[in-house]
Every structure is written in structure tokens, then in C-alpha cells.
Amino acid sequence: MATPANVVEKFSSKVFHNYGTVELSLSKRERRLIMSYMYVAMISLLVGGLMGLLQVLARSGEFELPWGINYYTILTVHGVILALVMTSFFIIGFQNALMGKTIGFSKKQLNWAWVGFWIMLIGTVIAAVTILIGKANVLYTFYAPLKAHPLFYIGITLVVVGSWVTAAVNFRQFYLWKKAHPNEKSPLLAFMVIINMLMWCIATIGVATSMLIEIIPWSLGYKNTINVLLSRTLFWYFGHPLVYFWLLPAYMAWYAIIPKVIGGKIFSDSLARFSFILFLFFSIPVGLHHQLTEPGLDSTWKFIQVILTFMVVIPSLMTAFSMFATFEITGRKKGYGGLFGWLKHLPWKDVRFLAPFVGMLAFIPGGAGGIINASYQINTMVHNTIWVPGHFHLTAATTVVLTFFGIAYWLIPHLTGRKLTDAVNRLGIYQTILWGVGMTIMSTAMHIQGLAGAPRRSNFSDYGGTEQAAEWGAYQMAQAVGGTILFFAILLMIFIFIKMIFFSPKGEQEFPIAQEEDHAEPTPKWTENWKLWIAITLVLILFAYTVPIMDVIQNAPPGSAPFDWPIGS
């Protein structure tokens, strides 16, 4: 008969001890670092939002841009500053807050984190200047052979390099923590940060390779021609995981912060970790689904990557289940019965919950639209129509952004040593509603207009006066209405930020981190088999990309010379 001690021994060798998540307090220097990221994100939001307003007004055909400003300069600023700058600064700042709260920074690590911040900021400023002087009207995808000023590419590359420095710091923090705590599971939020940064580092290798060996030498004149399809394929190898790099921090908040905000516990630590591992596997080997209508790629490999794309449905369903399970369990514990009675317990008047919740709702049509986009032949119906920006204004600009706002309502006062007041909370609720209404109008108009064939990324045009173009015009007006509402929502958000930074009363705002149930099932040790997770990720990438990339290189047409006159420079 086995002794109890043996049983415990055998049991514990496969699972982690659970000591609960230790919460550290953020030091003054850590707070200053994180706030620096937040300032850049806020300024980006304001600038990007203003560009969005000018865009919808210009495209309605009723307004002309003042001072001869080019529509496509504005479109480039809007895309670069919101999709690349605001997101990455907010995310890295937030992730550093999570690392500081669960693992902590040494003095040296913090210095390196500052190095990462400055490299990113310098890169941003360099790229911004080239765009603002009209030398980089290439949009945030900078498709060759359109050629921007070389400093535009160098600036963007620096942003990526800066993010790598922070990733290295985060990996180092995590590694040292694991070494010091051999039999403990890593803090859930730190685990999630590491998954996201791993995905980011593996994905950015694509765009960095393209920049360093193709685009930058070509834009400087050291190389005469470029392999256009290779640069596009490497871009989209990075471009799809980029959207998961935005989404996973929102999921971190959904899995491990929202439960605390609503007064509940984490639904399942192991499931949360497992879904993040699946996102790591299936975010990268899927970029060809952005290139379905391109001539130079083989249909079989396109289809294979479509199948891999759809694998993210599984962790997405797991996430949806976990969210609503947490809501229901928490409600029932509080004594709300009935089939849907538990919905009543949810803190609808707490903006820290409401904003992310509206984000979750937007993900239902957003996710459904994404399924359509990735559906191989169905993609032809919507490819490059304005349906596509309609889609990602639901997923990125609503699900992700509203969750980020939901985080900011407690994170910023926490960092500035102030309280989230009732007045700010109320303003936040108005902000969320305004955003929801504005986006519903704008995104619905874009979706319908896209199904009617209207192109994306285009200034107003009557296309020679066709009936179709006149029909699109009506939706472009609706877009302008929605976009204007959104701009007011952004102004309100900036006002809220200023209130939270400078004017709210001093105090200690809670940094909500959810705990597991007291008798939660222990997390199996295999969840932290990092070598295996990285190996599987790389094998999937090699499987999905080796043949297509060899094909693109071996069967390449004559390369393309740079073209700068089409962008007006």
C-alpha cells in the first residue's frame, strides 16, 4: 500500500504547487517607465484619431482637405500611428506593468527596458517626420515597389528593434524567476506576456529580414531591384501575428484581470495557458491568407495556410467559454439564480468591466467577419474592399482598443498614485457608449459598402459617374457620421486621461489581478515545456512557409526598380 507521502510525491511531480499569485508593488522607477509608454500611446491616439476624422470627411466627398494636404499622407499617418505605434507602446507598457507586478525588475533590467523605450521612440519620430514631409505616402503596409524615403523604413525597423530589447528583458526576468522557483508555476500573467513576446519575436524576424536584406538597401540605391512578392510574403508572415500581438494583451485582461474586477476567480489556470500556447502555434504559419488573390503563389499552399488559420477557432472558443463561465459562476456564488439571472450581478456601472465587455461583444461580428475573410475563395468577394477595414475596426479598433481603455481606467491612476473617481467612471461609461455607437455606424456602413464592391484605401472618387459609385457615396456619408462620433469619443478619452493623470484625488487605485479558486485543480507541468512549444511553433512555420518561399525565390520574375513618383515625392 502506498503511503500518503508517496502519493503526494507522485502527484506533485506532474503538477505545479499552487502558492497563489504573489503581488509585488510597482516601484517609482517602474511606474515612470510604464507611464512613459502610456504617454506615447495617448498622443498617438489623439493624432491618429484626428487623421481618422479628416479621412472620413474627405471620403464623403463633401469636404476638401485644407492646405493641400494629401489624403494618402493622412491615411499613412492614421495606419502607422494607430496600428503600429499606439498599439505597440500601450502593449509593451502594459506588459511591463504585468511583469513588474508579478516578477519585478532589477535595476539593470529596468535600465535595459529604458533603452528599449528610447529606441522605439526615436524610430517612431524618424518615421513620423518622413511621413509628415510627404516622403512616405506608402501606407503602413509599405508595399514595394512603391518607395518611401529610406529613413521611413529605418525608423520602423528601430521600433521593432526597440521592442526586441524589451522582449529580451522580459525573457531574462522570467528565466531568473523560474530558476529561483523550480517547483512553482510561473505567474499566469507573466506566462502570457512571455507567450506574446515569443510570438512577436518570431514574427518580426520576417519583416526585419525583408527590411534589412531587401527594402533598406534597395531604397538607398545599393540594390537596383527588389523581389516584390518575397517582400510581400515576408510582410504578411509578420502581418497576421501582428493582429494577435494586439489581441493577446486584451485576452490577458479578460482571463486574469476582469474576473477580479467582477469579484470572481480565474475559471481555469491551465485552460488559459493552453489557449495561449495554441495562439502561439497558429498565429504565424498563416500569413498567405492575406495574399489569397495574388498571382505568384500556389493554390495548394494557400489552402493549407487557410486550414492552419482556422485552427485559432479552437482557442477562441475556449476563451469565449471561459469568459462567460466566469461571469456565471461569479453570479451564482453571489446568489443570483435562474438561467440568465447571473447576468444581473455583473458590474455594468463599472467602466473597468463595461468597456472590455463591449469589446467582447464586438468580437462576435468581428470574428465572424474574420472567418469570411480567411475563407479561401469567399475572400475574393471582399478582398481589398472597404469591408476589410470595416472588419478590423471591429476587432482591433473596438475589441482591442476598448479593452485597453478598460485597462487604462485603473492602470493610469495606479501609476500616478491617484484614484479612479465616480465622475471619471461615469465619463468612461459615456465614452464606451459613444465608441460603441460611432463604431456600429461606421463599421456597418463599411461592411455593406464593401459587399457592394467599394474599394478600401481610396480617396473620394465618382469613378466616372457609375451608378455603383453613387450608391457607395451614401455609405461614405454614414461613415463620416460614425467617424465624427468616434473622434468626439477620442477627445473625451483624452480628457479622461488628463483628469486621471493630473486632477484625480491622490490615493491607491487597485491593480486587479485575479486569483484561482482555493481548491482549483493544479496546473500540469507540461504547460511550461517551453522548448517543446518553441519547437512546435518553428516546425509549423517551416512546414507552411518553406515551399512557398522557395517557390517565390526560384521562380522569381525580373525584379522591380523603386518607384517614388506615384507617391508624389
Partner: protein
């Protein structure tokens, strides 16, 4: 790792739905043959006329047989070259009888374009170095706007033409 009973049902239904969905996509693609354009032939972007289809005299619509047409298009910043009429003026509007089969072939001497006859299945990227091709059957009468739907420069929205499918 423990999965809640309802979560098993939820994921099970989701995964079955996903498999059925992928089988339908695969059936449409590989059995019925509805692929997006793929694997176009290559061409020298600085000498597109080396390919017969893009010689000036072959651009635009050509009837090859009863109910069968070829439409050769050169997309460039910021114009669609759909050939010229008898007087030598550029054609901007193309007419095709309903029920015709049309093979669309396109290429570009400069940057990336997105060739789309809005409202039809003809939607394909046009990239320097490649010939984009797609064969469609045009059955529904009406006017379809030819637009460029991939950003190609500051005159991107000024690239257009139209296609009329007539009874």
C-alpha cells in the same frame, strides 16, 4: 487538465462545425474548381510587350469564339489600358453579352494594383512580374465599375473604367 462537461460539448460542436466548414471550402475549391487566381506566369515588368497579350494592338476585349472573349488589361499608375477604338481614343467602357465566358488577363509595368470589377468575381491583385488571370462567366446584366482596390499612389482613386453586361 480538466475540461468542464459543457466546455467539452461547446468545443466538440465548434470543432465539428469547423471540420464541416473546411470540407465545404475544400469541396468548392478542389472539386468545383473555384480557386482565387494562383500561380500566374511571369513576365518582365520592364518589357511587358514581350508577351503577345499585352502588345498595344491586343489590349482590350477580343472575341475568340461564340460567347467566348479575352480581355487583356494593362494596369499602370494611374490608368487602366483597355485598348483603343477605331479613332484611336482610349476605351473606358466595355460591353459583353450576358452569358459570355471571359478570360481576363492583366499585368503592370510599375507598382501593385488591385483589379476589381465591383460586383463580379473578377477581383485579383496585379503585381509587377506576374500575369494575373481569371476566367469568369458573366450572367447578370448590369453595369460594373472597374476600380483599383490596392493602393498604388496618390492617383489611386482615379483609376477606373466600366463593364456593361448586356442582354
Amino acid at each position: 487538465m480538466h475540461l468542464h462537461k459543457y466546455e467539452k460539448y461547446w468545443l466538440g460542436a465548434g470543432i465539428v462545425g469547423l471540420i464541416v466548414f473546411l470540407i465545404i471550402l475544400g469541396f468548392g475549391a478542389f472539386y468545383l474548381g473555384t480557386h482565387p487566381q494562383s500561380h500566374g506566369e511571369i513576365i518582365d515588368p520592364e518589357n511587358i510587350e514581350a508577351n503577345d497579350a499585352f502588345k498595344p494592338e491586343n489590349r482590350g476585349l477580343t472575341k475568340v469564339d461564340e460567347g467566348r472573349y479575352v480581355l487583356n488589361i494593362v494596369a499602370s499608375a494611374f490608368n487602366y489600358d483597355l485598348g483603343t477604338d477605331e479613332s484611336g481614343a482610349p476605351i473606358k467602357n466595355i460591353e459583353i453579352p450576358a452569358g459570355s465566358k471571359v478570360l481576363v488577363q492583366a499585368t503592370t509595368p510599375d507598382v501593385i494594383h488591385g483589379l476589381n470589377f465591383a460586383g463580379t468575381n473578377i477581383n485579383m491583385m496585379v503585381e509587377p512580374g506576374y500575369v494575373s488571370t481569371m476566367e469568369v462567366e458573366l450572367n447578370n446584366p448590369g453595369e460594373y465599375t472597374l476600380v483599383c482596390n490596392e493602393y498604388c499612389g496618390v492617383g489611386h482613386h482615379l483609376m477606373y473604367g466600366s463593364l456593361e453586361v448586356v442582354e
